[in-house]
Subunit: 173 residues, 2 copies
């Protein structure tokens, strides 16, 4: 019993140090990156809700449509947002009811429905996107321009490493 | 019409450059951090499924319980994982059916149910956690020890900046 308690009391880092191949610093890096991302996402989610009464998935979907003025199929939106078709359909229905999104038939494939932002939807998104940019600027406000350049460069290297060791490395962007 | 198409063709970075207060580099940093995190999470999710037939939320829940040998209440698990109580209840039910988790009454509060890993659950988690650490080591494999230290330090600064500018700054960890 005592041995079990002692084992359990060792924290993850200590245990990792005792393993033959130790990945402590890589694990710390991953957990810190995840914590940083989650903190920003939580704050952005909260501000979108308080300021615009908008959910993050709704903002993300409008951002995808803003980048595709010709419109996107539901399947393509689902793929880009990495969420299910069902979720996308629900979001698109509510955006359509609010007059921010419209459906149009595809020029090349009559069976597919494309959706795009209406002029109102685009204006609403641009306002949110501008504030969103200000929020990100504020959240990273204590970093110098040099800090940001270093982080961009180092994260670029990290991304390249992850990509080259992912099993779908070639297929992913 | 032509003006609209031209406007739409400008990408987000170009537009950001035209704004009075420009947060282009902070936005690029945020998008790169998010892309990096999403790539790793997608790869880990895929490997957990292929290697152990386990979902990421199930792995995350077992990780929380592994850190708390005395057990956790459902509410506390939900708070730590930032997911709804309903989701946690479903995960705990399936883990209990599989003999990996057990319920126990709280010593201090008879109304609360605490859940903890069974010895089988702990052994199963440790095996997954060891492979998970190897995967993270592999994904960051192209980074030198120095690269990792720089990134840890820079992300620590970024995290501190985000925390100090979040409205719930004091309450968050």
């Amino acid at each position: 019993m005592r041995a079990i308690t002692e084992t359990a009391a060792l924290d993850a880092e200590t245990r990792a140090l005792e393993r033959p191949r130790d990945h402590t610093s890589e694990l710390r890096l991953w957990l810190r990156m995840l914590a940083c991302t989650n903190m920003i996402e939580t704050e952005i989610r909260r501000r979108l809700r308080e300021r615009f009464d908008v959910t993050l998935p709704r903002f993300d979907l409008m951002a995808q449509l803003d980048k595709a003025p010709e419109g996107l199929s539901l399947g393509e939106i689902s793929r880009r947002m990495m969420v299910s078709n069902g979720n996308v359909t629900g979001l698109v229905e509510r955006l359509t009811e609010d007059g921010l999104v419209e459906r149009r038939a595809s020029d090349t494939d009559r069976r597919s429905t494309f959706v795009r932002l209406t002029p109102d939807g685009r204006a609403a998104f641009r306002q949110m996107a501008d504030e969103h940019a200000d929020w990100i600027g504020e959240l990273f406000g204590d970093l110098s321009a040099d800090d940001i350049e270093v982080l961009l460069d180092q994260l670029g290297q990290a991304k390249a490493s992850v990509l080259s060791h992912s099993k779908k490395g070639e297929g992913a962007r």
